[in-house]
Symmetry: C2
Subunit: 350 residues, 2 copies
């Protein structure tokens, strides 16, 4: 195959779709046509990509004619129906839904960690991990390559944009109700001020943290917690890795943070871990507490890398490291990783 491949962006009008178009405009332009696809009600809208206005076409079988690679950011059930249709027409689908991530014949890819996995795609579908997994996995992949991971204990501090625009709208509306008040000091006062409508969250998220993300799975686990465990295992190629996760929503607009307790096969040193992280592609080490340097969402939002700080060796276990990691959940956590996978596949066309 030669020539510039044709790319389709399916779900171009969504929040992640908008970031995809931004990234396509910023990255080296390797594409022939870029076709924008969305639901029929968005057809005819014009969106800017690579400095040009492109008209959105409605999702249909024919919309995939001539497409080489498609990036999907659509709800699980839409991906489940349409990714196989596109793949049957010869399109390589890079899907950001949860529909295929754990399918044994679908690779789950993070280009810095397991790039070669893109080559084996018997279904013509490649999956993109969820945003919380992506927050930590590039840094952990680099440490695993050197030290050999043996166990993970993870707690999340997840931004509201992980729940889409509705999540952002809910936090902004709640903040307007609590700012300039004395709320937050009496039982239920924030809840009464916010009222019944807490948006996509089960509790108010302003002046609060909510230990829940996703839907209920067995034995009290949330779907988000199961995703982090199952997807980290698959990307790292460690199907038996013990992973304990608790996911918590915090009043941050965009950028997930995680604390990670990572146990390795043998003794580790902070000096060597620091060297690895300082040179790992896609990672920025930001770790000098004496100078007040550690990553926070306010500084990380809008950037591409995984930021790592607060690197310490566990005081009571010479095989374990503690890390605090931040990553923009809409960029590396979604649109950027999807685009990186598509670019890996595109290299096959040159």
């Amino acid at each position: 195959m030669t020539g510039r491949p044709t790319l389709a962006v399916v779900g171009a009008t969504g929040a992640v779709g908008a970031v995809m178009l931004q990234i396509l405009s910023q990255h080296a332009d390797i594409w022939g046509e870029i076709r924008l696809i969305a639901s029929p009600r968005s057809a005819g809208r014009k969106l800017a990509v690579r400095g040009e206005e492109v008209e959105v076409v409605a999702l249909s079988e024919e919309a995939f004619d001539g497409v080489d690679i498609a990036m999907f950011d659509v709800p699980d059930e839409v991906a489940e129906q349409w990714a196989p249709i596109a793949a049957a027409r010869g399109v390589v689908v890079v899907d950001n839904s949860a529909a295929f991530r754990l399918h044994p014949e679908v690779p789950l890819v993070v280009p810095e960690v397991n790039p070669h996995a893109v080559r084996t795609r018997p279904r013509g579908i490649i999956a993109n991990p969820n945003c919380t997994t992506l927050t930590m996995i590039v840094a952990l992949g680099a440490l695993h390559a050197e030290f050999g991971l043996r166990e993970l204990v993870v707690s999340s501090y997840q931004a509201v944009s992980g729940a889409g625009r509705a999540g952002v709208d809910a936090l902004r509306a709640q903040l307007s109700l609590v700012a300039g008040t004395e709320l937050g000091t009496k039982p239920g006062d924030v809840r009464r001020a916010v009222g019944e409508d807490t948006g996509p969250f089960p509790e108010p998220v302003a002046l609060n943290v909510v230990p829940w993300a996703g839907s209920l799975r067995e034995d009290g686990w949330s779907s988000e917690e199961m995703k982090v465990r199952d997807e980290a295992r698959k990307v790292l190629g460690l199907p038996q890795l013990p992973v304990a996760v608790t996911c918590v929503r915090v009043p941050v607009i965009t950028t997930h943070s995680l604390t990670v307790h990572a146990r390795f096969q043998g003794e580790v040193t902070v000096d060597r871990a620091r060297e690895i992280l300082a040179t790992a592609p896609g990672v920025v080490l930001c770790d000098d507490p004496a100078a007040g340097e550690f990553p926070t969402p306010a500084d990380v939002v809008g950037t591409d890398p995984t930021w790592v700080g607060r690197l310490r060796r566990a005081l009571d276990d010479p095989t374990a490291l503690e890390l605090f990691v931040c990553g923009d959940n809409l960029r590396k956590g979604a649109a950027l990783n999807t685009a990186q996978i598509a670019e890996l596949v595109a290299a096959e066309f040159s």
Copy 2:
């Protein structure tokens, strides 16, 4: 000894002091005189306790004449100087500073966990743990008594009032600057809006989380993280317990939350853990995610117990439990536990 003991409240005009007076007014009245002591600049102020106005007297040696028990909530260096002076005059000091917590001749007491420790106090001083340790220790003490703790991995979601009134003022001021804006989506936009003055925190805390609490200790650890490890070990009587902690500040006014990964000597069951927590004094089990029930700071603030939710057994380790715990850092985390210790000592006088 007989008769009602005389109590002194040292640091009566501070944020925790105010909660102490509130608690003394709510609890069964076992005290004779209650004397309020503060720095000379607060002397002469009148504060309400047990429905009466009491005049604050200046801290001095003579201020302790006739006092049986004193609750101290003052800076470490003030406690270091004045607790021994009071003790030398026969006063039993219950100190909420960090000055004596790890002293081998000072018991560190949580009445639900190690009440008998109050009896052995060769210095006449009893210490109260820090607020983050107190958030989890009552629930962990109950589980330890049954299962035998072997390891802890803890991440905190700490309220700004842990940094005193200045912390609350800083968050309220920052919230007024970011509410009603589109901030939180571009690198540094929150920081620019907040400006240089971030109060007692090294970064803006509105629309952000900050992985730092306290001062810098060796090897990148924060003083708050070291306190949680050292104090948990001492209260539980497990001087070798492996404890890994990462402390993170979140935009919540009052009530600390923690995720806890607790590993025990042998296999545990959620059913038995649930029974233990449901009947443990000072613990409320709030754990029914199907009904949207888990503790959050917005509901817990202003209440006395340790609230426990999201109880799960680790999927890959039958000896480990995951918990999300919340506790009001000004009540059980400070004033309440101090008052409970003072009440334990007062029982010796009857």
